[in-house]
């Protein structure tokens, strides 16, 4: 191709005729341009305009739906949206919608979805960038728009529908049309889905590798289904444990179900986010659980952290936002000893004596690649003060380390 151009240049003995640039090259160049620049370029000539509309450039699109009253950011131009639906809906494969907190934006997203009848999407993401505005839509309005996509796509591989009013029937439609291809499903905080609904997905979509949902949807049956012989190895399971009311009771999952998961998918990551009151942790960490990434978004007690040390041998990453004002020395040491895979830890409003902290780091050694400790966490003692602890820690980590600081003016 390039030699062809060279020859052309030699023949014409003038500069390159941009208008006669081969389309493949233009396409390649256009792929590097942001949409706005591409659009400007498309006005140059008919040839360039043709390239602008080539399918390859319309595989991915992110619709940004914002209202001036609820967002500071600009929205995708309505004319552009019209054009895409008219000319490119059958080219779209990887689509996401970013909507702000207004119901209009969520509604607009649904309108677009309803029109994607010629679409065979591989990826669909519905993302609320502020308050979850999809939840404010009438459920039927939302689910009917979503099922348009499910029915037409037939090869959906990734679906991200967190914080939406998706329900069991819609999931059935999803499964009926995409069970062979579905690999990833993110549906945290979808209150209209029941454990039976998600079980249906697990039973049929044997290629499912990544799943994100809330704890109330988790069941022994689900875990067993995901570990059945027909099922591929699960790679990633994310569970959000959120308390709606204080004193809420959470069901327990049998150890045998977790064991089945680990046996079937030995390398899978179990990511758990806890947003509970301190006294709601009753059913958790009583038995061994294969959690790898653990995030405590609110205060968690010493006792629970002690149990974590005992029962989470696969733990890789631990984040504790708050604990209270009693030192976590013993608990941390135990975690260092028993969680031999631990490589990342973050501590917020906690307290640890400097000596215990140094001991912890020493025991973990260089496997600790991420150590994010707020300055206030470390309590000076007879052996270490705040000004010298970072040297000790740096020594054991094998790199320069400092605690995180917050402005104090």
């Amino acid at each position: 191709m390039c030699r062809g151009i060279e020859k052309q240049w030699e023949e014409e003995e003038v500069g390159v005729d941009w208008g006669r640039m081969p389309q493949e090259i233009l396409l390649h160049i256009f792929q590097y341009l942001p949409l706005l620049d591409r659009a400007h370029a498309s006005l140059v000539s008919r040839g360039w305009n043709q390239v602008f509309h080539m399918p390859e450039l319309w595989r991915c699109f992110e619709f940004e739906l914002n209202q001036p009253a609820s967002s500071y950011l600009k929205a995708t131009h309505p004319d552009l949206i019209k054009q895409i639906i008219k000319k490119h809906s059958n080219h779209l494969q990887y689509v996401s919608f970013k909507v702000d907190s207004s119901t209009e934006s969520a509604g607009a997203a649904c309108d677009i979805l309803s029109q994607l009848v010629n679409c065979s999407l591989k990826t669909l993401g519905l993302i609320s960038t502020a308050r979850p505005s999809f939840m404010e839509l009438p459920k039927s309005h939302f689910t009917s728009a979503l099922t348009v996509v499910f029915v037409n796509s037939k090869s959906l591989s990734s679906l991200k529908i967190d914080d939406t009013p998706v329900d069991d029937p819609s999931l059935k439609v999803l499964v009926a049309n995409n069970s062979d291809t579905l690999k990833l499903l993110k549906m945290s905080s979808c209150p209209h889905v029941s454990p039976a609904g998600i079980l249906c997905v697990a039973d049929q979509c044997h290629g499912l590798r990544e799943l994100a949902l809330n704890y109330h949807l988790l069941s022994d049956d689900l875990l067993l289904s995901l570990s059945s012989e027909k099922h591929v190895h699960l790679e990633h399971l994310r569970i959000d444990v959120v308390s709606d009311n204080p004193g809420q009771h959470f069901h327990a999952i049998k150890k045998s179900s977790w064991d089945a998961m680990v046996k079937h998918s030995p390398k899978f990551n179990l990511v758990m986010y806890f947003f509970l009151y301190e006294d709601e942790f009753g059913p958790f960490f009583k038995d061994e659980i294969p959690v790898t990434h653990l995030y405590f978004g609110r205060s968690v007690s010493k006792d629970v952290l002690g149990r974590v040390g005992l029962h989470c041998p696969r733990l890789v990453e631990l984040v504790v936002c708050a604990n209270g004002l009693r030192p976590l020395d013993e608990e941390l040491i135990r975690i260092a000893r028993r969680c031999t895979q631990l490589s990342a830890i973050g501590l917020g409003e906690c307290e640890v004596s400097c000596s215990a902290f140094v001991e912890f780091v020493k025991m973990c050694g260089r496997r600790l690649s991420q150590l994010s400790i707020m300055e206030e966490v470390l309590i000076p003692d007879h052996r270490y003060g705040l000004d010298d602890i970072h040297w000790e820690v740096s020594k054991h980590l094998g790199r320069v380390w400092f605690p995180d600081m917050m402005p104090c003016w």
């Binding site: 940004e64 905080s189 917020g348």
Partner: protein, 596 residues
């Protein structure tokens, strides 16, 4: 220019003895100049090198402060800010009177009024303290031009900051340091700050006088709050009285207390820390009633005396250095206080929600901890820095997901020690919009307060309506049984608002938002995921000390130099959801061309 006749005895020359040579020489005017010292910040007579330049060898000096009454009425600044300022001006005037001088509070804008003053007072010298803020630099450049046109010499001295900020930037390769650690490293390599200069005294003034007219009070007197359009009826007395005199008393008390707290340890946060302290210094540093250099050296001296050690750690000067850090970060960035077009600020899709913002600003969130803090802020003009973290987190990345710019404006109105650089910088920091820090930690609007002040005295003090609640429920009164509410004579939803959000749900949502943003940034920047093998689903972010493989290996834990303007500097976690990674191919840059 004047011409003088010089008579030179003709000795040693080939001339007849007794004859003289007359020569005519041009000399610059040596008549004592009339000076103006222009107060903006730096409202003090101690450690004020520019002021000393004004009086040095001068015939007359007039210290001016510009105040535009119309501007005052329409400005965003609240009554506590104005009162503090007016008290500073009164104090300056009182102290200048002791030196037979006065403060001239000039009504109007400097650019409009200076030319007239230059003429009227036959001014040939103008002095002022260097202002590092971009707006200040622009204003001063314009005034310098005016002065030059009027033949007025301009002398500017640095004394609002410990260091020459441009020097810090130069030492960092032309960019301001974006981590506090880096900043500390740089200044530890520089010479220590200059010593404070002497306080203005009669001796230093020498022959310099201040002509004061009989109508000085009317024309140039310090206005009252009423004159500025404030209704002062029922206004409680100032918890933080303004002025240099107060500042100097406080610093002595502050140092006494520090020496008491042997070893200079970081004091543990307790319920008392939340209350305004008679040794608190931040508003005085902001207005310049207290010289930061004086504070610095007094701290140093005290440390050496108490610890018998001549090398104080940098942490001793924490308060001063944070202030300095933000000044440095802001000085070359006129958009430092904005998200749009600010090269160091992450573009986060904050929610536009005036009602929610108003609830936060007016202490009506339904979370007593937040509301008590905001009440203290509005009533007194100061809140503890951890209280600031709590309310800033609540407004932005914690609960309400509202833009930090809105919070910054409210603080600007109410907070005595919030000036442009420090306020904007802190808000960006606390909302995780800049400066490379972690965001996993979210301050709980119930738990954090409870841990700090278990008894809830702070709440009861500022929200008397909740006084009847026992400690068990005072942080989350909506959970109190009806009987408890009735006994407290405060029904939630009637006498005190219900909580405006469900914190667990909001924080869950928001942490997810933050993660998405940072992951998108790292993908956009094409950063290589870590090779830890654990790259899935976690929360952790590289702390500033971390180094990404494949990038320039920085020294001392400094992240690589920031990329060119419009690209964002942050580095995100490696531990990203593969879920999100699978969702869109990395090359996707669709939509309306937004960065994310």
């Amino acid at each position: 220019v004047i011409y003088i006749l010089v008579v030179v005895p003709a000795c040693g020359r080939a001339l007849k003895p007794g004859s003289v040579i007359l020569t005519v020489t041009k000399l610059p005017c040596t008549m004592a100049p009339n000076s103006i010292h222009w107060f903006r910040k730096g409202l003090r007579l101690h450690d004020n090198p520019a002021l000393l330049e004004a009086v040095k060898g001068a015939g007359t000096v007039r210290c001016v402060y510009f105040l535009d009454p119309w501007f005052a009425g329409s400005s965003n600044l609240g009554v506590n800010r104005w009162r503090f300022l007016l008290q500073c001006l009164e104090d300056l005037d009182a102290n200048l009177r002791k030196l037979n001088s006065r403060l001239f509070v000039v009504r109007g804008q400097p650019a409009n009024v200076f030319p007239r003053l230059f003429k009227e007072w036959k001014v040939s010298r103008l002095t002022f303290e260097y202002d590092s803020e971009p707006f200040g630099k622009e204003r001063d450049a314009a005034i310098k031009k005016l002065a030059k046109e009027a033949g007025v010499e301009v002398i500017v001295k640095t004394s609002h900051t410990l260091y020459d900020l441009d020097q810090v930037i130069e030492l960092n390769g032309g960019q301001p340091p974006l981590t506090y650690k880096r900043f500390q490293t740089l200044i530890s390599r520089m010479d220590p700050p200059e010593l404070p200069v002497d306080t203005l005294s009669g001796g230093l003034m020498g022959r310099c006088v201040t002509p004061v007219g009989d109508d000085h009070g009317e024309k140039y007197g310090v206005p009252s709050l009423e004159e500025l359009g404030f209704d002062t009826e029922g206004l409680p007395s100032a918890v933080w009285p303004g002025g240099e005199t107060e500042a100097l008393t406080r610093i002595e008390r502050h140092l006494e207390r520090k020496a008491w707290v042997a070893n200079f340890e970081r004091p543990r946060m307790n319920a008392n820390s939340l209350l305004a302290s008679p040794t608190g210094l931040s508003p005085y540093l902001r207005f310049g009633c207290l010289s930061c250099r004086l504070f610095y050296f007094k701290l140093t001296d005290l440390y050496r005396k108490v610890k018998k050690n001549s090398h104080p750690p940098l942490s001793l000067y924490g308060q001063l250095l944070w202030r300095e850090f933000f000044y440095t970060a802001a000085t070359t960035n006129p958009r430092f206080d904005k998200m749009e077009g600010n090269p160091i600020c992450v573009r986060i899709p904050w929610d536009r929600n005036p009602e929610a913002l108003a609830k936060w600003a007016e202490a009506k969130t339904g979370f007593p901890w937040i509301d008590a803090i905001m009440t203290q802020l509005r009533q007194e003009g100061w809140i503890h820095h951890l209280a600031r973290h709590a309310v800033a987190c609540f407004l932005t990345r914690g609960d309400l997901w509202i833009s930090w710019e809105e919070g910054m404006k409210v603080f600007e109105e109410l907070l005595l020690d919030a000036d442009w650089s420090v306020n904007a910088g802190s808000w960006m920091w606390l909302s995780c919009s800049s400066f490379f820090q972690q965001f996993f930690h979210c301050y709980c609007p119930v738990g954090f307060g409870r841990r700090t002040d278990p008894n809830g005295d702070f709440i009861r003090r500022y929200l008397p309506i909740l006084r009847g609640f026992p400690a068990k429920y005072i942080y989350d009164p909506w959970n109190a049984p009806e009987s408890v509410q009735a006994a407290a004579k405060c029904v939630i939803g009637v006498h005190y608002p219900k909580p405006m959000v469900n914190h667990a749900e909001s924080s869950r949502l928001n942490i997810e938002r933050m993660k998405q943003i940072y992951q998108q940034l790292s993908r956009y920047r094409g950063l290589v995921p870590s090779t830890n093998g654990n790259g899935t689903g976690g929360m952790m972010f590289y702390s500033p000390g971390e180094q990404q493989p494949g990038h320039n290996q920085p020294t001392h834990g400094e992240p690589p130099t920031p990329p060119p303007p419009h690209l964002i500097v942050q580095r995100s976690s490696v531990a990203s959801d593969p879920a999100t990674t699978c969702l869109l191919p990395a090359s996707s840059v669709g939509g309306s061309g937004h960065q994310w």
